[in-house]
C-alpha cells in the first residue's frame, strides 16, 4: 500500500486529492496546511509521495520542497499549481520536483502523473 502526504492550504483541495488517491488504493498518511507542517510530517513519516501546493501561508511549497530534498534527496514530490504559475513550476522543477499537476485537474491526470513518478 502506497503512502502519500497531501500539502495544500485549502481544505477543499486536500479533500479532492484524498478522494482521488484513496479511490486508487493509496493511503493518505497525513495532510499539511503549509510548508512548515509539510517538512515536519515528511521527516516523521517519509511517505512514498508528496503532492505540494506552491503558494501557501508561512512557508511556500518550493521552500518546503527544498528543505525536504536536503535531507531526503530521493523524495518524490509532485507540485500542485494553478494556471498562470508556470514560472514558479519551472523553478520547482529546476529545484528537484519530479512532475506537476495543474488545477483544476481530472482524476486521471493526477493518477497518470503519479504512476509515472513512481515508476521512474
Amino acid at each position: 500500500m502506497k503512502q502519500v502526504l497531501i500539502v495544500d492550504d485549502a481544505l477543499f483541495m486536500r479533500n479532492l486529492l484524498r478522494d482521488i488517491f484513496e479511490g486508487a488504493g493509496w493511503t493518505v498518511v497525513a495532510e499539511a496546511e503549509d510548508g512548515f507542517q509539510a517538512v515536519e510530517q515528511f521527516q516523521a513519516l517519509q511517505p512514498d509521495l508528496v503532492t505540494m501546493d506552491i503558494v501557501m501561508p508561512r512557508m511556500g511549497g518550493i521552500d518546503a520542497m527544498r528543505r525536504i530534498l536536503q535531507d531526503f534527496p530521493e523524495a518524490r514530490i509532485v507540485m500542485c499549481s494553478a494556471l498562470g504559475q508556470e514560472r514558479m513550476v519551472m523553478e520547482a522543477i529546476n529545484a528537484g520536483a519530479m512532475d506537476f499537476i495543474v488545477k483544476p485537474f481530472q482524476d486521471q491526470q493526477v493518477l497518470d502523473v503519479v504512476a509515472r513518478v513512481c515508476n521512474a
Binding site: 499549481s81 508556470e86 513550476v89 519551472m90 522543477i93 512532475d99 521512474a120
Partner: protein, 617 residues
C-alpha cells in the same frame, strides 16, 4: 523548430573536423608509420559521418562513410601510400564543397562519381569489401539521435511540461543540444515542441517506450533525417561565419571593472571642476588617460585571433606544391600563437599563400625549408616568410626593370641592392613573359604589397644570392586605431600612418640639389627625390621658408621625401571610413576627428600618385 541552429552547429563542427583531417593527412604522409595519426583520421571521418547522418545530409554521409572505410583498411596495415593521401585529400576537398552547398541551402553536389571512380581504381589494387558494408549507413549514428516531442493541444502549461520531459530525456544519456534551450524555457519561451540531440546507448525502441507514458505528448519522433519542409522553412541563405566573436569572460569582467573606474573618474573630474581644484583636475585627467589607454588595449583584445588560424592551412598548400613540383620542402612556423587583429588576419590569407608559393616555385631548387616567423615589435606585428633557396640576383632584377622601362639607366646605376628588390613589387614586373625561370619571384608581389599597404603596413624584400630570400610584412596591431604623423598642407591637416614613415627630417633649402628637373636631397649618402605635398594636392605654392620639413616614405618601392608645410607631431587616432561619395577620393584612406575637434584626413601618397599615373596613361 530551430533546425537552423543545428545546421550552423553541424557546419562549424564538420569544418573543424575537415581541417584536422587535412592537417593530419599531411602529417601522416610525412611519417607513414604514424599509426595513431591514421586512427585519429579515422575518428574524424567517423564523427563527420555521424553528424551528417543525424542531420540527414545523405551525400555528405556517404562520402564520409566511404573515406572512413578507406581509412579503416589502412588502419590495419598501419601505412598509407602517397597516392592514397592524394585521394583522401581530394575527398576532404569534396566534403568541403558539400559543406558549402549545405551552408548555401543548396542540394548537395554529386559524390557518386568520386566514390565509384575511386572504387574502379581500387579494384586493380585489391578486391573490395562486400558492397553490403556500404549500405550500413542506417546504423550510422548509433550513439547520437534526435528526438522530437510534440505536446498535445490540451496541455495547459507547456513550458514546465517540456522542462519535465527534458529532465526525463536527460536521464537516458547526455543531452547535447535542445531547441528551445533549457534557459529559454526557464525564461518563459512558449513552445509546444522540443527537439533534443541526445547521446545515448539506449536503443530508440526503449526510449519510445519510456516516453509513451506521457499522455501529454501527441507525437514522439526520431528524425534520423531532418524533414524537408523544416529545412525549407529554415533556409534563410548563407551562414555567416564572421559575424560573431567569442569573448573570454575574464575580458568581459575587465571591461566592467574599467567602466566602473571610468564612472568614478567622471565624478572626480566633475567635483574637481566644480571646486576649480586644478591639482585634483590634473590628477583626474591623468587617471582618465590611463583608463582610456587600458580600455583601448582591452577592446583590441576582443578582435585578436592567433596567426595559427591562417597558417593552419599552409602545410596543405606546401604539400600540394611539393607534389606538383617534385620538390622537397619543409615548412616551419614560428610564433603561430601571436595574436593579430582579425580583419588584418583575414586580409593576410591570400598574401601568405602567395609568398609561400613564390618561395617554393622560385626560391627553392630541389629541397629546402620555408620558414614563417611572426613576432611583435612595439606597436607593430612582423611576419616574415623566408626560404633557404637560391636567392635573387639583383643584377638580373635591375636589367629586367631597365628593359621594361621601369627605371632609367641612371637609376639602375645608383640603385642599391636593397632598393632593387623592392622593384619586384612593381606592377609592371609581373607580366607573364618576364616570369622565366631566372627572373625569380615577382609573381603577384604587387598584389601582396598593395594588401599590406592597405592595412597600413610595409613590405620589405631582402635577398642573399645563393642563400635565400626573406619577405617581411610590417603591420599595425589594429586597423581601427592607428598612430599617425600629423602634417599641415596649406592649412589642411593630413595624417600619415607612422608605419609608412621611414624618417622625418628638416633641411635647409640650400641642401636641395637638382638632378635634371627633379629636386632631391642627399641623405646618408643616398639621393632622395623630393615631392611637394602642395603640388600633389594642387594647392598654391607656399611662402619661402628657412627650413624644409620632409617626411621620408616609400612609393612604388622607392624612397621619396615629401615636402610638407609643417610637422605637427604624432597622435593616436580612431580612423573612420569616409561615406560615399568621399570614399572615391584617391589618396584618402579615411578620416578622424581629433581631440580638439579638428578633422584630419588619412593621406595615402601611393594611391594618390597611382591616380595621377592612371590619368597620365
Amino acid at each position: 523548430m530551430d533546425i537552423e541552429k543545428y545546421r550552423k552547429m553541424f557546419l562549424s563542427e564538420a569544418a573543424e573536423h575537415l581541417q584536422n583531417m587535412a592537417k593530419q593527412l599531411v602529417a601522416v604522409e610525412a611519417d607513414p608509420e604514424d599509426g595513431e595519426g591514421i586512427n585519429s583520421l579515422f575518428r574524424e571521418a567517423h564523427s563527420i559521418k555521424g553528424m551528417a547522418a543525424t542531420m540527414g545530409f545523405d551525400a555528405t554521409t556517404r562520402l564520409a562513410h566511404h573515406l572512413e572505410d578507406r581509412l579503416a583498411e589502412f588502419r590495419g596495415k598501419g601505412q598509407i601510400s602517397s597516392e592514397m593521401i592524394d585521394r583522401l585529400l581530394a575527398g576532404v576537398d569534396l566534403l568541403e564543397g558539400l559543406l558549402e552547398d549545405i551552408a548555401q541551402g543548396e542540394q548537395e553536389r554529386d559524390v557518386d562519381l568520386f566514390i565509384h571512380g575511386e572504387q574502379l581504381a581500387l579494384i586493380e589494387l585489391e578486391p573490395l569489401d562486400s558492397a553490403e558494408e556500404d549500405d550500413a549507413c542506417c546504423d550510422l549514428a548509433s550513439n547520437r539521435m534526435l528526438i522530437r516531442l510534440l505536446l498535445d493541444e490540451s496541455v495547459v502549461a507547456p513550458g514546465p511540461r517540456l522542462l519535465v520531459l527534458l529532465n526525463r530525456v536527460a536521464e537516458f544519456g547526455t543531452v547535447l543540444e535542445t531547441t528551445p534551450s533549457e534557459e529559454n524555457l526557464l525564461q518563459g519561451e512558449i513552445s509546444r515542441t522540443l527537439l533534443v540531440q541526445l547521446e545515448t546507448e539506449i536503443p530508440q525502441q526503449e526510449i519510445l517506450k519510456r516516453l509513451e507514458c506521457y499522455r501529454e505528448l501527441s507525437k514522439i519522433e526520431f528524425p534520423a533525417a531532418v524533414l524537408e519542409e523544416e529545412t525549407a522553412r529554415n533556409k534563410p541563405g548563407r551562414v555567416s561565419a564572421t559575424s560573431t566573436v567569442r569573448v573570454d569572460t575574464d575580458l568581459l569582467d575587465r571591461f566592467i571593472n574599467l567602466t566602473g573606474e571610468l564612472i568614478t573618474n567622471r565624478y572626480q573630474l566633475q567635483s574637481a571642476a566644480g571646486e576649480k581644484d586644478w591639482t585634483e583636475l590634473n590628477e583626474g585627467l591623468g587617471q582618465l588617460a590611463r583608463l582610456v589607454k587600458s580600455l583601448h588595449h582591452q577592446v583590441l583584445q576582443v578582435r585578436m585571433m592567433p596567426l595559427e588560424s591562417v597558417t593552419g592551412r599552409l602545410p596543405r598548400t606546401v604539400r600540394d606544391l611539393c607534389r606538383s613540383s617534385g620538390k622537397e620542402v619543409r615548412l616551419e612556423v614560428l610564433g603561430a600563437s601571436l595574436e593579430i587583429d582579425r580583419s588584418i588576419l583575414e586580409a593576410l590569407t591570400d598574401p601568405l599563400t602567395h609568398m609561400i608559393r613564390n618561395a617554393i616555385d622560385h626560391g627553392i631548387a630541389k629541397q629546402g625549408t620555408v620558414q614563417i616567423k611572426a613576432w611583435r615589435e612595439r606597436d607593430q606585428i612582423l611576419i616574415q616568410v623566408a626560404d633557404d633557396g637560391r636567392g635573387i640576383d639583383p643584377e638580373m632584377v635591375r636589367q629586367r626593370a631597365l628593359d621594361s622601362n621601369l627605371i632609367s639607366p641612371g637609376q639602375a646605376q645608383t640603385m642599391r641592392d636593397f632598393e632593387t628588390y623592392q622593384l619586384l613589387c612593381l606592377p609592371g614586373f609581373t607580366t607573364k613573359e618576364q616570369v622565366t625561370e631566372t627572373s625569380g619571384r615577382g609573381v603577384g608581389m604587387d598584389v601582396v604589397k598593395s594588401v599590406v599597404e592597405k592595412l597600413g603596413g610595409v613590405l620589405l624584400i631582402d635577398s642573399n644570392l645563393g642563400k635565400g630570400t626573406r619577405v617581411t610584412m610590417k603591420l599595425p596591431l589594429s586597423v581601427a586605431i592607428i598612430r599617425v604623423l600629423l602634417v599641415l598642407c596649406d592649412g589642411s591637416l593630413l595624417g600619415i600612418p607612422i608605419t609608412r614613415i621611414l624618417q622625418t627630417v628638416e633641411v635647409e633649402p640650400g641642401e636641395v640639389q637638382t638632378s635634371g628637373k627633379q629636386l632631391a636631397i642627399s641623405l646618408h649618402g643616398e639621393l632622395i627625390p623630393l615631392l611637394s605635398l602642395r603640388k600633389i594636392m594642387q594647392r598654391p605654392k607656399g611662402p619661402g621658408k628657412t627650413m624644409l620639413s620632409l617626411v621620408i616614405t616609400e612609393v612604388f618601392g622607392r624612397k621619396v621625401g615629401l615636402v610638407v608645410d609643417r610637422l605637427q607631431g604624432q597622435q593616436e587616432v580612431f580612423v573612420q571610413s569616409l561615406p560615399s561619395p568621399f570614399d572615391q577620393l584617391r589618396g584618402t584612406g579615411g578620416g578622424a576627428i581629433l581631440g580638439d575637434g579638428r578633422i584630419m584626413f588619412l593621406f595615402d601618397l601611393q594611391s594618390k600618385l597611382e591616380g595621377r599615373r592612371a590619368k597620365g596613361a
